[in-house]
């Protein structure tokens, strides 16, 4: 079992809510290399030989297991690009807990680009949790640019739960999903930016198979001088249903831009987009004031619950 330093332990607590343990199927990437990893009877993790990253094989026998693949960057000035591919066999049921935390105490930028591809078999059910977090007293930026590509076979279910907690100076997130017949996609994206941070999220959902459905919920809070851009796009190529809902709370001198795109290419494609940007609702603040909470405490509670 690898020994982990205090910074790594602390960052892992932030990005792996269930508690990272070197048990079961896991891979901890630390400052650009795989520090430790483990397999189980049904889940095998292999290091790539042609480039940085891992291949994760999840057998159809997998029922309710978890895979933990956190990334910790604590060296200032590092640029880490990693390719992780997941092969999920027909009928597997698995939860994949990923996440990246950067502790930058230096003056150089630290950056992690995680390119994840999921090949989801028929009837498989995957839950993918990803938390991004930055900390450290250095002036160097903390940069995370994740790319998530998901190929969903018939009747598969994929739940994508992404959270950017705080401390990430710049992020450019790209998500691409291709859906076959009767597959179901659930996306919950939560994002908080502060200071002068910027976040861009592009999401392309192609509903190719009849009966496919997607529900995308994006919630964000932009404070200080931060800047967010959302560009969710749903393309309906068959009888399908998609619902995209983007809600943002804007504060201070922040800027939030939501650019929805819904593209129906089939007469039975039903696609809905809702987007709302606004300051914290004064009625909500007053309601919490009537519970005896100050303005500041009420505001914190509203944001905490909004990002839940």
């Amino acid at each position: 079992m690898a020994n982990l330093d205090q910074i790594t332990e602390s960052v892992l607590t932030q990005i792996d809510g269930g508690g990272f343990r070197q048990e079961g199927a896991y891979n901890l990437r630390y400052n650009g290399y795989s520090l430790c990893h483990g397999n189980t009877e049904h889940i095998t993790i292999k290091r790539k030989e042609d480039r940085e990253g891992i291949d994760v094989y999840i057998s159809g026998q997998t029922k309710g297991e978890q895979v933990h693949i956190p990334v910790v960057v604590s060296a200032s000035g590092i640029t880490d690009e990693v390719y992780n591919d997941f092969y999920i066999e027909d009928g597997a049921q698995v939860t994949i807990v990923a996440g990246c935390g950067i502790h930058n105490s230096g003056c150089n930028d630290s950056r992690h680009d995680g390119i994840h591809s999921f090949h989801v078999g028929k009837d498989a059910n995957v839950r993918y949790e990803e938390k991004h977090y930055g900390e450290g007293e250095g002036t160097g930026a903390r940069i995370l640019n994740p790319v998530t590509r998901i190929y969903m076979d018939e009747r598969s279910v994929f739940t994508l739960d992404t959270v950017q907690i705080r401390g990430v100076d710049s992020t450019r997130r790209k998500t691409e999903v291709v859906m076959e017949g009767d597959s179901r996609l659930y996306v919950m994206e939560k994002l908080m930016t502060h200071d002068s941070q910027s976040a861009v999220s592009d999401m392309d959902i192609c509903l190719n198979g009849p009966g496919s459905s997607a529900r995308i919920i994006s919630r964000s809070v932009a404070r200080d001088n931060s800047h967010q851009v959302f560009h969710p796009k749903a393309i309906g190529n068959a009888l399908c249903h998609a619902h995209i809902q983007c809600d943002s709370i804007i504060m201070d001198h922040a800027r939030v831009c939501s650019i929805p795109e819904i593209d129906a290419r089939h007469v039975d494609a039903a696609i809905i987009h809702e987007a709302a940007i606004g300051r914290i609702n004064s009625e909500q603040l007053i309601k919490l004031n009537t519970f005896g909470l100050s303005e500041e405490a009420a505001e914190a509670i509203i944001i905490e619950n909004f990002l839940n």
């Binding site: 007053i286 004031n289 509670i301 909004f306 839940n308």
Partner: protein, 244 residues
């Protein structure tokens, strides 16, 4: 317990001063139930909002247990023991019913306690605890939850602004029972703004507010017959158009 003296509220609307509340005075005694009624637009809800500190009066005084709270913030009044149930409660995306009740109570509530508060307003705890207080809840569910949040902490004075609005008949009779129980306990004073005869009948005293003024104030058995007898008379004249 509560003393309101010469309350006046003249806010600006499109740059012009308008008269909403004109010199209203009344008291509420310990354990008393005062029902405020009167035509729509007469100023009932504004009085409630002035008492809670949501609006600021232009003049007048509000005293709670002899202490002048006129300049106090909403939170200060809440911490002094005033509770408030909104006519149209706000929704909170991402917040669960259980969390809202816990915030209302000021501490993390066990499920059994949440269940008690929700049952008291006719909601089944098992179905609602983990639901979000967002637009998936109907208007009636929101109203009942709103009342549950007020029940979740002890108060000296509870103000309910049209608690019956949007509530179905079955839940309404439960709600009336709940108010009857609260009133019988005499632990807290109650101000209810209502148009419902069943609620008005429970009042120790009734105050009728019309055109921002107290049109009648007295024991329930004196004011109620006047209300019932004059229900066809909305009180409007050529010089004072109907605001109902």
């Amino acid at each position: 317990m509560l003393e309101v003296r010469n309350l006046v509220f003249h806010p600006l609307e499109n740059g012009l001063e308008i008269s909403i509340i004109e010199n209203i005075s009344f008291t509420v005694e310990q354990g008393e139930m005062l029902v405020i009624t009167g035509p729509n637009g007469g100023g009932k809800s504004t009085v409630a909002r002035l008492l809670m500190g949501i609006e600021t009066p232009d003049s007048g005084e509000i005293l709670l247990d002899g202490v002048d709270i006129t300049g106090w913030s909403i939170a200060q009044r809440a911490n002094a023991g005033i509770g408030f149930a909104f006519q149209q409660p706000p929704r909170f995306k991402g917040m669960t019913v259980k969390r809202l009740l816990s915030i209302a109570a000021g501490c993390e509530l066990p499920e059994s306690r949440c269940c008690d508060y929700l049952s008291a307003v006719g909601l089944c705890a098992r179905e609602y605890l983990d639901r979000e207080v967002d637009n998936t809840l109907s208007g009636g569910e929101m109203k009942r939850l709103e009342i549950a949040t007020v029940l979740a902490r002890p108060h000296k004075l509870c103000i309910f602004d049209e608690p019956e609005a949007g509530i179905d008949l079955w839940s309404f009779s439960m709600l009336v029972d709940q108010f009857r129980r609260l009133h019988a306990e005499k632990k807290q004073s109650l101000i209810l703004i209502s148009h419902q005869e069943k609620i008005i009948q429970m009042a120790d005293r009734i105050m009728v507010i019309r055109d921002g003024r107290v049109a009648a104030l007295g024991p329930g058995d004196e004011v109620l017959p006047q209300l019932l007898g004059g229900e066809k008379d909305c009180g409007c004249t050529a010089n004072s158009p109907c605001r109902a």
